[in-house]
């Protein structure tokens, strides 16, 4: 009889324990109901791509010296560099340059190794088209200026974590006038000079 009763007691204790921990879990989910949703409503709100963001590649036709480093560092030798040797000026003359963004993986190797910096990454990432061949950008298309999230009047730009003020962890909560975390080198120099007195 005692054994039975102790078993019942154990059962009851387990049940109370279970209810307690389920209640604790429900408090967590319940508490989230009063927090602000973190959803970025995409077409109306957009995150501002970072400064180093590797979006669509921009190409400066006149700077290119047709060295083809971009082709050699590209994982699949994607850029098409069409040049001709001009014997009069003893230089390679670029005729056309194209990158197919349907194939490009935006690794940024070409930009990193370009000796004349004629390639650069833009913050354009929405490259969808109705026809994949439209993604094959020639040097004219590559030379277009990128569209910016911050300049689109239909879009509320939201900052990413790394560009928020110190202590703010959510883009919606940050005041857009507040400066991002970190000091400028100039300010650090001024501070150190002020403290050391020279």
């Amino acid at each position: 009889m005692m054994k039975f009763l102790s078993k019942v007691g154990e059962y009851a204790r387990d049940a109370v324990q279970a209810a307690k921990y389920i209640g604790q879990g429900m408090m967590v989910t319940f508490d989230h109901m009063r927090r602000r949703p973190i959803t970025v409503r995409y077409p109306y709100e957009k995150l501002i791509p970072s400064e180093r963001f590797r979006g669509r590649i921009h190409f400066e036709f006149d700077k290119c010296i047709s060295c083809e480093v971009c082709v050699r560092v590209c994982p699949i030798n994607l850029p098409v560099v069409d040049w001709e040797y001009n014997s009069e000026i003893k230089k390679k003359e670029l005729k056309s340059y194209s990158i197919d963004f349907g194939v490009c993986i935006f690794c940024g190797n070409c930009v990193e190794y370009c000796p004349t910096n004629c390639l650069s990454m833009t913050e354009e990432y929405d490259l969808s088209t109705f026809d994949r061949h439209e993604l094959n950008f020639d040097n004219v298309a590559l030379g277009r200026l990128p569209t910016k999230v911050t300049e689109d009047p239909l879009v509320t730009p939201i900052r990413e974590l790394a560009y928020l003020p110190k202590g703010v962890l959510e883009g919606h909560k940050a005041d857009h006038r507040e400066r991002r975390a970190g000091k400028l080198p100039v300010e650090i120099i001024e501070e150190t000079q002020a403290t050391t007195g020279n």
């Binding site: 059962y11 389920i22 879990g25 429900m26 989910t29 989230h32 949703p37 959803t39 409503r41």
Partner: protein, 371 residues
């Protein structure tokens, strides 16, 4: 308290217009049916909207936002979308059983709304076997689930159907035992009687205080009957893709989907009726009427009281739905053996003990326990 009698008023109205009372009665007949389908459907649709919104809030999302104000039109959008979708019957499925399955599930759930009272006279049919009828009808549903699981000719569906059957059978019993204890106290199975017996002292006379164990058993078993997390094994997405509804699409799927939420709504209403005093307000409304010296027969007062009662029972039901939804988005799913263990080794003995305890208390304190 006599309350309002809609049927009588309706027939009187049409008799007044010179129509034969018998004809008026025939004209009245489809109206309750329409009402029951409307109430169940609206309740289920509201539950789907709540599910989306509450899960979104618990997960720091927004949820449906652009379909109507606060996404309120999203259930309608769901229905329209499912209605215009093609209904695919798999090539090797049994077409008759495949279509019959969801229909049986749907009908069995919607039929139970017949005995759900929203007020003393706001009930379609106040049958003497009320609560028993609900339990009897709702145990037809697993047949439909098994049917659809078996006829889909899909192994996931079959497993889901079998799980549904096993689960329903296991949890019918504790559910019935818990309801039985309440019926024992109320000296009747009629849903209206059960509520009226909780009316005297407002919130203090609700069954939840006299039947706390039964209340918990009923809630757990009701969640299991509704196949919701933590007991949604028949349609466990991570294990069985979608269980018995894997092969369903379009209208057939909508029947399952609607039935599952209508079932949730039904369970919530049952919890409200059996344990939370149904349409009774937390304070006795008759006393208020006496205080304000309004005669009970005052038609305006009757309408107000009926309206208040219906609101209160819906509030209670949706409080339970809120709890069920929040629970769904908090806890993981139990395993099949643990589910059966819980049903047979925990809820069943406790349910029996609760029944015996109620009987003992009823003999010992006939005043408090409905002697």
């Amino acid at each position: 308290m006599t309350g309002i009698d809609l049927q009588r008023s309706f027939i009187d109205l049409f008799s007044g217009l010179g129509i034969d009372p018998e004809v008026a009665r025939v004209m009245w007949m489809p109206l309750p049916m329409l009402a029951v389908v409307t109430i169940a459907t609206v309740g289920a649709l509201a539950a789907t909207w709540l599910e989306r919104k509450i899960s979104a809030a618990a997960q720091q999302r927004i949820g449906p936002e652009y379909a109507g104000p606060f996404g309120l039109a999203i259930p309608a959008a769901d229905v329209v979308k499912l209605l215009i979708k093609q209904t695919v019957v798999p090539a090797n499925a049994d077409p008759l059983l495949f279509v019959l399955g969801p229909v049986i599930v749907f009908i069995s759930v919607f039929l139970s709304f017949l005995v759900i009272p929203f007020g003393e006279n706001l009930v379609i049919s106040n049958v003497a076997t009320g609560i028993f009828l609900v339990i009897a009808i709702s145990s037809i549903a697993p047949i439909g689930l098994l049917m659809s699981g078996y006829s889909s000719n899909n192994k996931y569906s079959l497993l889901g159907g079998l799980r549904a059957a096993a689960q329903s059978i296991s949890y019918e019993i504790p559910l019935a035992l818990a309801a039985l204890a309440v019926a024992m106290m109320s000296n009747g199975l009629s849903t209206v009687e059960i509520v009226e017996q909780q009316a005297d002292l407002g919130i203090l006379s609700w069954n939840v205080w006299r039947q706390p164990i039964g209340f918990i058993i009923f809630i757990i078993a009701a969640l299991a009957e509704c196949e919701r997390i933590p007991f949604d094994l028949p349609e466990a997405e991570e294990e069985l893709v979608a269980g018995y509804q894997t092969e369903y699409s379009g209208v057939n799927f909508m029947l399952f989907y609607g039935a599952s939420y209508a079932n949730l709504f039904l369970s919530a209403l049952l919890v409200a009726i059996l344990y939370l005093g149904g349409w009774e307000l937390p304070f006795p409304i008759d006393k208020v009427a006496e205080l304000l010296s309004i005669p009970e027969t005052n038609p305006i007062w009757q309408v107000v009281a009926a309206f208040l009662g219906a609101t209160v029972i819906l509030l209670k039901a949706f409080a339970f739905i809120f709890l069920a939804i929040l629970l769904r988005w908090t806890v993981p799913r139990v395993r099949i053996d643990q589910l059966l263990d819980l049903g047979w080794k925990f809820l069943l003995p406790i349910g029996l003990a609760n029944l015996l305890l109620t009987a003992a208390l009823k003999l010992a304190f006939p005043g408090a326990f409905g002697g």
